[in-house]
Symmetry: C2
Subunit: 109 residues, 2 copies
């Protein structure tokens, strides 16, 4: 008990849900927004900007990396994070494929 029963859902449902789950945290939205605004950023920038502990920011960055929406490239002793545009657009498309469905509402509603 307690764990999500992923085996009972369709692959597409699990896929969409897990990407939305990663985006479903304000720190991760704020991180993405900061990267967009600055075009790139390093972990320490986010620690200062958001006021969360360095370990916490690093953990959130790891989750964002796990779905491929950001990418980090080593630059000396720091790591520059950027949006992975291809994945960004894929996710937007996937979301809109779901949300563009024609909604028909029964009389009763």
């Amino acid at each position: 008990m307690g764990a999500t029963k992923t085996e009972i859902y369709k692959d597409k449902e699990n896929e969409l849900a897990s990407f939305l789950k990663v985006l479903g945290h304000p720190a991760r939205i704020a991180i993405l927004q900061y990267i967009i605004d600055q075009e790139t950023c390093i972990c320490n920038d986010l620690v200062e900007e958001l006021g969360l502990a360095q370990a916490t920011i690093s953990q959130h960055l790891k989750e964002l990396k796990s779905i491929g929406i950001i990418q980090g490239s080593i630059d000396g002793k720091s790591v520059g994070y950027c949006i992975e545009e291809k994945v960004w657009k894929q996710f937007q498309e996937e979301f809109n494929t779901f949300f563009d469905q024609d909604i028909k509402v029964k009389q009763c509603c």
Copy 2:
């Protein structure tokens, strides 16, 4: 420790994240898909369709109702759930406002 520090983020960030969080579970995606396909449904249909306990389905429906994306109307001894089209479109728009931002990628990336 352990709880999300919502007070440090912007309202829009919290709002977007909390709506994405609700959608970030495969059961809730599957429920929405089922309602779209059938145009309406009752809790028991979902229990049969998804194979989760009635209490679990009821809990997921409650979360979907909490963000207003579905609406339930009493019909005798059952409750008919439908998509709330206005909210559905609002969320899609809010998501796309975020995702339509112009992504500029630094050379380093």
